[in-house]
């Protein structure tokens, strides 16, 4: 018994001390010219297949760090002294503009980036849109007959939708971009009044877009404001949802398309690999993989949109990314004054 006990102790101690050492996973290689580190706020599902294809084609190892766009942006800011990432992929352009202002991005322009429409890239070449998502009205078909579905976001302030609406808070950058676009197009006073009416209409401000489309899909809410790919995701899961691209009539507001964007991080260890990756993302093969994975809208007019509506068939308000970035802070103030959950 004593011996067995001693043996067990010895093995427990050995396991505690040596276990982590033996099981220690191989560390990612140090910065080498053939290693590209991507900080990606986009879904892994969308970026990883592109990264794999890129690695296969070029022989460059790709290490992916997937997270929230905003969290990764904060990381890039903190890492300013010794940048660790080479390429940043964000889900929205306002953050890119913020990083531009702080001098954290390295401009890059090429034949490939030239093909992207001007309102989906930085004027100085600091970042480039790689795909887009339109702001849409998602509705539950069991709760709202197709013919009654609202055609304009402005209709949502109508009392008939009271208590039936949901949107993600500004933690989802696309929600903030939507509200900021409204401020840019219709002015602050109009937006303030509109948002106050939505609030009076019981608009539920949720944590993220997933909660919105799933809530609508399950019937917790009749109507949600979210991004176009979520409609396809909900449909794929067999949820009873319909979609409206709002304000498309002649003279209407249009609905914003938010670009997912890519940029080379200033001070990157392997900027050349990062540039190659941007070109690859915009190449027909890169676009096919990227867009095919997650129902995104190709921004290059020539690219094949597959299942989704092509960019040229969606009417969008013409507001530059820089203008949006300027209006972000006042918009945020306006929203949180109405409801702190924004």
């Amino acid at each position: 018994m004593q011996k067995l006990q001693a043996l067990i102790y010895a093995s427990l101690i050995a396991a505690a001390l040596l276990g982590p050492t033996v099981a220690w996973p191989p560390l990612p290689a140090e910065a080498a010219s053939d290693r590209l580190v991507i900080y990606s706020g986009r879904k892994e599902k969308a970026i990883k297949p592109v990264a794999d294809a890129f690695a296969k084609q070029t022989g460059i190892t790709v290490d992916l760090k997937t997270g929230k766009t905003s969290g990764l942006a904060n990381e890039i800011r903190m890492e300013k002294a010794h940048p660790r990432g080479d390429l940043f992929i964000s889900t929205e352009s306002g953050i890119m503009e913020m990083l531009v202002k702080e001098g954290l991005l390295e401009p890059y322009q090429s034949a490939a980036t030239k093909a992207v429409p001007d309102d989906f890239k930085s004027a100085t070449g600091a970042w480039t849109g790689i795909s887009g998502r339109a702001r849409v009205i998602l509705y539950n078909k069991n709760l709202v007959p197709e013919k009654d579905a609202p055609r304009s976001v402005l209709e949502l302030a109508d009392p008939k939708w009271k208590g039936k609406l949901a949107i993600a808070g500004t933690r989802e950058r696309t929600s903030l971009a939507w509200a900021t676009t409204l401020v840019a197009v219709k002015g602050e006073a109009f937006t303030k009044e509109y948002m106050a009416r939505l609030e009076a209409n019981g608009l539920k401000v949720l944590t993220d877009n997933t909660e919105v489309w799933q809530g609508v899909g399950r019937g917790e809410f009749a109507i949600g404001l979210t991004n176009s790919p979520n409609y396809y995701l909900a449909k794929k899961m067999g949820l009873p949802v319909g979609v409206i691209y709002p304000d498309q009539e002649a003279g209407g507001l249009g609905t914003p398309i938010n670009p997912n964007a890519a940029a080379v991080i200033k001070g990157a260890g392997t900027p050349e690999a990062a540039r190659k990756f941007i070109d690859f993302l915009l190449s027909p093969e890169g676009q096919r993989i990227l867009v095919g994975q997650d129902y995104e809208i190709p921004l290059i007019p020539e690219a094949d949109p597959g299942e989704v509506l092509p960019v040229k068939s969606i009417k969008r308000p013409a507001v530059g990314a820089q203008r949006l970035a300027e209006l972000e802070e006042p918009t945020l103030k306006l929203l949180t004054a109405i409801n702190p959950n924004w």
Binding site: P28, D63, K65, S70, A81, K333
Partner: protein, 539 residues
């Protein structure tokens, strides 16, 4: 210095060389801990002072936040105690059926990260969750019966997944306390309830307070579950400032206020503890004769079953339903084994280091009575209160700027885990040491036993159950850590919680469910092994 003091007291064994060595070791240890924890704290304080303003926040909203946060953490702790104390007592001291199974099941909720628990309960008790849907179909009305969202949902979920902190420490202490004290009280005509109230509970006070403190601090610093349950507290407000407004100054200010609140909580706990002396252990680790429950055996088992249903069976059941099929597990195991290995290696390293350092610190702090000891263990406790996101960002800045060779390696993650969780080890061992009668050591010393012998022959056996408990605690916490890991992991190095997070965000729920279950299983594994061995009296 304290070492030297007690050696002089013992008189016979001066051992100047080893004494000086021990002293130097203590100083080095404390300096190391200081260098680990103080920089992020000082960085926070200085950013807060530099900011000097609350940014977009008003004093009123700050007070409101503080009130909600404290009320939530307080109520969650009370709820956790209500769950943990009866369960610990039933399992250790009575002949309740299934008590051995209950004993290790009761710790499983700790292996369920609170954000996963919250997700499971949203599926179960959300506005369109299983229960509401079922009730609606039963009654035909579309009334919303139960709603997990909001303040009370936060209290409910946090209590459910933190009560094992109290359970673990209290049951270990119950085991270590000499049952003869209670037996004497019984034989003197005290009723079982009277023994519980007048003898057992007072003896357990250090453990209850230490466990309650862990639960309370967990609730203060939790972000994941509260953000899912849509409760506005400090951590969610900090996240908002950081990730929506990119206002580092306001975030630092809020974090600093949170740290101050923690400090106040720690000071009041210390005041509570110092009022009385708790030396009760006289050195037998004899197992108490279980109290026969008689006709209360099955009602007691039902109570334990109810607690375990809420905290283990329901969330695990929801995750199983979410996963759907067995192939999901094999697929995930095959695809993601590397990430599982990452998690195990990291958490194992953090737990072992925390156990060793924790023991040494608790041991030195006990000897360095007075302000020094208090300051050290207080500093370590504050590390636990820095929200993961804030800690992650400050470590990025500090390590990347001053220790660039360290940053970007897994070493940073181990250090972050130590900053966050070292206190679990120090507190647990501290509470156990507090119960050991110093006369025992003095007696051994006077019999010419060296400090090393005292440590090995007297202290180690008495705190051994606690050492197992704290290793498990830190391992579990490190396995679950998400907020700081998301930021600090090297590119390409994901852990299990990070994978669960990614798949959840990407709406791949079957995969997320399978990974969450694997996370729970691997997190609980060491606990299972140790309890089995202990059940067989092998360790």
């Amino acid at each position: 210095m304290a070492q030297a003091g007690s050696i002089a007291l013992a008189g016979r064994t001066p051992e100047p060389a080893s004494g000086r060595l021990a002293q130097a070791g203590t100083v080095a240890l404390l300096a190391g801990v200081g260098l680990l924890i103080l920089p992020p704290l000082l960085y926070l304080a200085s950013s807060a002072v530099q900011a000097g303003t609350l940014g977009a926040l008003s004093i009123g909203s700050l007070a409101g936040l503080a009130l909600t946060t404290l009320a939530l953490a307080g109520l969650a702790t009370v709820w956790a105690m209500a769950l943990a104390l009866p369960l610990a007592w039933l399992v250790v001291r009575t002949d309740m059926p299934f008590r051995n199974a209950c004993r290790w099941l009761a710790v499983i909720p700790l292996a369920i990260p609170s954000y996963i628990g919250a997700m499971a309960y949203i599926t179960f008790l959300g506005p369109v969750g299983s229960v509401n849907t079922w009730l609606s179909s039963l009654t035909g009305s579309h009334q919303q019966w139960l709603n997990i969202y909001g303040f009370w949902g936060g209290v409910f979920v946090l209590g459910l997944f933190t009560y094992p902190y109290i359970f673990l420490l209290v049951s270990a202490a119950l085991e270590a306390t000499n049952p003869s004290v209670e037996e004497t009280a019984r034989s003197l005509g005290e009723s079982p309830l009277g023994v519980l109230r007048r003898v057992t509970l007072p003896m357990l006070r250090p453990s209850i307070l230490a466990g309650g403190l862990l639960a309370f601090l967990y609730a203060l610093s939790d972000f994941g579950s509260l953000s899912l349950l849509r409760v506005q507290v400090f951590t969610t407000a900090i996240y908002h400032q950081l990730n929506t407004r990119f206002d580092q100054a306001a975030a630092a200010m809020l974090s600093f206020v949170l740290v101050l609140i923690t400090l106040a909580v720690l000071l009041s706990q210390r005041a509570l503890m110092s009022r009385r002396s708790y030396v009760t252990i006289t050195g037998t680790a004899r197992v108490a004769r279980p109290l026969p429950l008689g006709r209360w055996r099955w009602p007691a088992a039902a109570l334990a079953g109810g607690i375990l249903s809420l905290s283990v069976f329901i969330p695990v059941g929801v995750l199983l339903a979410q996963t759907g099929s067995l192939e999901q597990f094999t697929d995930v195991l095959r695809e993601q084994w590397a990430f599982i290995r990452n998690s195990l290696a990291l958490a194992g390293a953090a737990a072992t280091l925390a156990m060793i350092i924790g023991f040494l610190i608790a041991f030195s702090a006990k000897r360095a009575k007075g302000p020094v000891g208090a300051a050290i263990s207080g500093t370590i406790q504050i590390g636990y209160a820095i929200p993961g996101t804030v800690l992650g960002l400050s470590l990025i800045l500090l390590y990347n700027t001053y220790l660039p060779w360290l940053y970007g390696t897994v070493g940073t993650l181990v250090l972050a885990y130590l900053i966050r969780f070292l206190t679990q080890s120090v507190q647990g061992i501290d509470a156990a040491l507090a119960g050991i009668n110093p006369h025992l050591e003095e007696a051994a010393r006077s019999l010419a036993a060296s400090p090393a012998t005292v440590l090995r022959r007297i202290l180690a056996p008495l705190v051994r159950p606690t050492l197992f408990a704290v290793w498990t605690l830190v391992f579990i916490s490190a396995m679950k850590e998400l907020d700081a890991t998301l930021l600090l992991r090297p590119a390409g190095f994901d852990t299990l919680p990070v994978r669960v997070y990614i798949h959840t965000v990407e709406a791949e729920y079957a995969k997320a469910g399978a990974l969450a279950l694997l996370l729970i299983a691997f997190t609980a594994l060491p606990w299972l092994v140790v309890t089995r061995l202990r059940g067989k009296k092998l360790v």
